[in-house]
Symmetry: C2
Subunit: 561 residues, 2 copies
C-alpha cells in the first residue's frame, strides 16, 4: 500500500469566492453530497462568519453529509471531515465551530498572514503579535474541536525562518494539520517544493502534524506546485473542482488526482478518490456556479479526450495508447450515452438518474418526469447531459420567489425586439408586462425587471448547447449584482471587509430565450433571498399583490439582515 494523500476540497469555500459563483444552500448541499460520494477526505464547506446564511449552509452540510448514518444510507465509507474557515479571532472560530460541530468529524481551519507585505499592509501587526495571535487562537480552537488546521496566509512570500517559528508554535498550541498556501500564485514548482522540504526539515514537531498544500493558478502553475509539494512530503492537497476560485483560481482536483493516478509509477501515492465521478461532479459545479469549463481544460474540458473529438482516430484505432494516456471511462465519460427517448417510462428515468448518482423523492421524480416527457417530445434522444441539465434546472428552482409562468417574444433584424412576460409572484398572483429591448434577452429582462423591480447590474451572460445537434437544449448562466439594493454583502475572509455579492443563475430549455428568462429569475430569486426576502409560509400568503414602485425600490417586505 502506497502512502496516502488526503484530498481537501474547497470548492464550497475558496471556489465559491469566485466572482458570481454564489451558490444556494440547496446547491451547496448537492455538491457536498457529490464530493462525499467521490471520496473526498475533507470538505471545506464555507466561511461561517461571512453571514448567517453561510453559517447555516455549513451547518446543513455538517448535519446531512458529515454523518455516515444520515443521508440516503449509501455512504459505505466514513463520512468526510467537514471543515469551516475562520479568521484568527474568537468570533470567527465560534461561528465555525457552531457550524461544523454537527458533523461526526468536524474541523476548524483558522489562518493568519505571515508575509511581510501582508503583516504590514493588511494586518498592521508586528511579527511578534502575529505569533501570539496564532498561539492564542489555535489553542482556543483546539479547546472546542480536536481537529484543527492552521494556514499561514501568503506563505509563498513569507520569510522561511519566521514560517518555521509560526508553524511550530501552532503545533504546540494544538494544530493537527498545517496548510501552506501560495495565496497569490507566485511560486514556481522548484521554489514551492523547497519551501515544503524546508518546513519538514526545520519545523520542530512537524512529524506530529499533517502537512498540506494550497496553491493558486495565477501563473498557470498551481497543479505543478501542488505536486512538487506532495513530492516533498505534503500529505494533503487543497483543491477545487474545475480549478475555480478567485482570480485564475485554485489547484484543480481533477488534475492533481489524475496525475497521481496516471503517473503512480513515479509518485507512488494513493488518494481515496473514485475517479469515475470526476466528469459528473465537474459538470455539476460548472452548471451550479455558472463558471464554464473551456474545451481545452485538462481532464474535464469537452476536448480533453482525443477520441471524443474524432481527431487522431487512426492512431487511436491502431493502438489506444498512441495518443491516449488516460481512458475516458476512468473519469466517468462513457463512449455512448444515448439512453432515453420518448417511449421511456418513469422507471427507466429513475433508474438512469440513480446510475448518475441522483436519488430523488417520489414528488421530485414526478416533476422531473413531466419535464422529461416535454423534452422527449421535442428531442429524439435524451442523453445523460440532458438529464443532468433537467436535474440542475430543478435543483435551481428550489428557492423560488418569482416563477416564470409565460413568455412570448418577437425579434429579428427589424430592430424592435419585444417580450411579454408573465410571472407568478410569491403570493400566487400573476403579473404581466411587455418591454422593448436591444435584443430578445434584453427585452425579456426588462419586462421581468418591470415586474420585480430589484435594481441590478448584469455582469455575465453565457449560453451553451447541452448536447450536439441542432435540437439541443440550451443552458444559460447569468451573473448579476444588486444595485443600491439592501444588504447583499458578505464578509471576505481575507480582507475582513464586506464586499458586494454577485448572484449566479442557471436555466435550461430548448428555447434559449425561455432558458435565459429562467436563469435571470434564478439569479434574481437568489438576490431577493439574500437581501432578506423570506418565503412566506403557504398559510401566510399576503393578501395584496407585490407592488412595483417608481425609482427601482424593492417593493417586497424586504428584511435587511
Amino acid at each position: 500500500m502506497n502512502p496516502y494523500v488526503r484530498i481537501f476540497d474547497t470548492t464550497l469555500r475558496d471556489g465559491e469566492q469566485s466572482p458570481g459563483a454564489t451558490l444556494t444552500s440547496a446547491e451547496k448541499l448537492e455538491i457536498a453530497r457529490s464530493l462525499a460520494r467521490m471520496g473526498v477526505d475533507v470538505i471545506e464547506a464555507g466561511f461561517p462568519a461571512a453571514s448567517p446564511d453561510d453559517l447555516e449552509a455549513v451547518r446543513r452540510i455538517a448535519r446531512e453529509v458529515g454523518n455516515p448514518a444520515s443521508g440516503d444510507g449509501e455512504l459505505v465509507r466514513p463520512a468526510p471531515i467537514i471543515c469551516g474557515l475562520a479568521r484568527a479571532s474568537t468570533k470567527d472560530i465560534d461561528a465555525a465551530w457552531e457550524a461544523v460541530r454537527h458533523a461526526a468529524r468536524p474541523r476548524i481551519h483558522t489562518f493568519l498572514a505571515t508575509s511581510t507585505i501582508h503583516m504590514r499592509y493588511k494586518l498592521r501587526m508586528d511579527p511578534e503579535e502575529v505569533v501570539e495571535r496564532v498561539k492564542d487562537m489555535v489553542a482556543y480552537a483546539r479547546s472546542l474541536c480536536a481537529d484543527i488546521e492552521f494556514s499561514p496566509e501568503d506563505a509563498g512570500r513569507s520569510d522561511p525562518e519566521f514560517l518555521y517559528l509560526v508553524l511550530s508554535e501552532a503545533i504546540k498550541a494544538g494544530a493537527t494539520t498545517l496548510n501552506i498556501p501560495d495565496t497569490v500564485g507566485y511560486t514556481t514548482p522548484d521554489e514551492f517544493g523547497e519551501l515544503i522540504s524546508g518546513i519538514i526539515a526545520n519545523t520542530p514537531g512537524i512529524e506530529n502534524a499533517v502537512l498540506s498544500v494550497h496553491c493558486h493558478n495565477d501563473l498557470g502553475l498551481a497543479t505543478a506546485n501542488t505536486l512538487a509539494g506532495i513530492r516533498a512530503g505534503a500529505r494533503q492537497a487543497e483543491v477545487t473542482i474545475n480549478g475555480i476560485g478567485e482570480r485564475a483560481g485554485n489547484t484543480s482536483l481533477e488534475e492533481v488526482v489524475m496525475t497521481l493516478h496516471t503517473r503512480r509509477g513515479i509518485f507512488g501515492l494513493e488518494t481515496g478518490i473514485d475517479t469515475t465521478q470526476i466528469s459528473r461532479v465537474s459538470r455539476m459545479v460548472s452548471n451550479y456556479t455558472g463558471i464554464p469549463v473551456q474545451p481545452n481544460k485538462a481532464i474535464v474540458g469537452a476536448n480533453a479526450f482525443a477520441h471524443e473529438a474524432g481527431i487522431h482516430q487512426d492512431g487511436i484505432l491502431k493502438n489506444q495508447l498512441t495518443y491516449e494516456i488516460m481512458r475516458p471511462e476512468t473519469v466517468g465519460l462513457s463512449r455512448s450515452n444515448l439512453v432515453l427517448g420518448k417511449h421511456s417510462g418513469r422507471h427507466a428515468l429513475r433508474a438512469r438518474l440513480e446510475e448518475l448518482g441522483y436519488v430523488l423523492a417520489p414528488d421530485q421524480i414526478d416533476r422531473l418526469f413531466e419535464r422529461f416527457k416535454d423534452l422527449a417530445d421535442k428531442k429524439k434522444t435524451i442523453t445523460d447531459a440532458d438529464l443532468e441539465a433537467l436535474m440542475e434546472d430543478q435543483v435551481n428552482q428550489f428557492e423560488e420567489v418569482y416563477r416564470l409562468d409565460g413568455l412570448q417574444v418577437a425579434c429579428g433584424t427589424m430592430g424592435m425586439p419585444t417580450a411579454t412576460v408573465r410571472l407568478q409572484g410569491p403570493d400566487g398572483s400573476l403579473h404581466v408586462q411587455a418591454a422593448l429591448g436591444t435584443g430578445p434577452v434584453d427585452a425579456t429582462y426588462k419586462a421581468i425587471d418591470s415586474i420585480i423591480g430589484a435594481p441590478n447590474v448584469l455582469l455575465e451572460f453565457n449560453i451553451h448547447a447541452v448536447t450536439e445537434g441542432i435540437d439541443a437544449m440550451g443552458e444559460v448562466t447569468v451573473r448579476l449584482q444588486a444595485k443600491n439594493g439592501p444588504s447583499s454583502q458578505r464578509t471576505s475572509p481575507q480582507s475582513g471587509q464586506p464586499h458586494s455579492r454577485s448572484f449566479g443563475g442557471y436555466g435550461a430549455d430548448t428555447d434559449i430565450i425561455v432558458a435565459s428568462a429562467k436563469a435571470y429569475l434564478a439569479a434574481l430569486n437568489k438576490l431577493l433571498i439574500s437581501a432578506g426576502w423570506q418565503m412566506p409560509a403557504k398559510a401566510l400568503v399576503p393578501a395584496s399583490p407585490v407592488q412595483i414602485q417608481e425609482g427601482g425600490q424593492y417593493a417586497h417586505p424586504v428584511r435587511p439582515i
Copy 2:
C-alpha cells in the same frame, strides 16, 4: 542582458488542429499580423501538405507577414520567421518550402516519431529505418532552406539513448533547431527537465543547434514542463495563444511569457514579447476560433486580475502587491475602457481602432462606421470589447457565399418557436423560408438549412455577452461538421490520414438570435468554400437561383477538391 528565449507560436498550426478551430485565410492572416506585432520570434503558420487551401494560407502569411517591407510599414523589428510543418517526406517538405519560401526568413519544420509505441503501431518502422529517414529528410529540407527544425514526435515517451542518436544525426544532416515534444502530455516537470538536461549532456553537436520544447496539457502541466525545459537549457518554447490545441491543448504563450516576466529574478531570461498585446490577441484568437477562455484561466481569463472582479479590493487599495503579482496593464488590460458613444465620429472610431492595432482601408472604415452608429443607437457606451467584436464580425464576413438579409422570430413558452429568414444568395437573388423549431435558434437554423441545403451536424453552440450590462452585445460561436457532403477533409500531420474538418462561425449583435443566424451562416459559408464552392466573379453571376433539392444534396455548383 539576460539570455534570450525564442517564442515559437503554433496557434495557426497545432492550435488550429483543435476541434472546430478551423480558421479562414483572412482570419489566419489577421492572427499572424497580431503575433508579429506582439513580437513572436517564429510563427508556425500551418501544415501546407494538409490541403491546397492550407498551403495557400501559409504562403499568404509568408508573403504578407514574413517580410519587413510588406504590410503596413509598422513593423520596426525584423519580420518573424515563418515556419511550415512537414512530415518526413519529400512531398510534404516540398509543399512546406513552396509555402514559406516567400518569407524573408523561412523555416521548414519536419518530424518523425521516436517512441517505441509510435514507431511500432503508427509508423511500422524499425528504429534503424527511423534514423535513416530522419537523416535523408533533414538533409533534403536543408538543401532547400537554411533554417531547419526537427522534432522527434512523442519524445517524452522515447528511449533517451535512441533520442540522443536521432538528434545528433539530425544535427549532422543540417537541422538548426531541435524541438522536444511531449506529444501526449505525459511527463512531469522533473522528468521533462531531466530529459532536456540529458539531451544537452549526451547529444553530440547539440551546441550547434537551438534546443526547443513543445508540451501538451493533458495533466495540466504544460506550462511547468515548458519552464522546466527552459531552466534545463532549452532556448525556444513552442506555445499557442490561450493554450489551444488538440485534447487539453498546448502550452499557453501567456503563461510562459508572464512567468518569465514576473519571476525574471529566478529565471534570468528575456523574451521579445510585448506583453501589453496579450489580452487583445487572446480575445482575437478566442473569437476567431470560437474556443472560449474560461474565467479562471491564468493571465487571460475574465477573472484573472483581482481588481477587475472587485474582490480583495481592500487589500489592493492598501497595497497593490498584497494580492496582485502582475499589473493588469502589463497584459494590456486598461482599467477604464469606455471610449466612444453615439456622438463619436468616423475619425474617433478610426483613431481608436488604430490604438487597438487594427489598420483599415477606407471602405472597411465606412462599413464599420455604419455598424458602429447602429450599435451606438442601441448602447449608451461603446467599449473596446464592442469595437473588437464588430471588427471580428466584419473580418468573419469577408468570405460570404450567403448573406443574412432579414430575420423575424417569434418564440416563448407557448412552444411554437417560428423563424422567417431571408438570405441573399451568391448570385444576388433573395430566398425566404419559414420554419418551426424546438427553440428560436433551431427554427432559424432550420429555415437557413431549407434555403442552403448543406447537410451538417451542429457540434457546439455558445453565446456570451461582450460587455457587462443588460444591453450588451451578444457574441455567438458555433461549430459544425458537414454530413455526407463533398470533400471537407484535410490530412492530419500526425496520423497522415484524412479527417473531417469542422467549421467555426462567429456572429455579434445586440439580438442574440440575429447573432446566432450570422454565426451559423459564417460557419456554413466556410463549409461551402472548403467544399469547393468558388465565389463567382461579379460579371459571371449565374442566371438561375440556387435550387434546393430533396434529400439534403448540395444544389450549388460544388467542385470537390
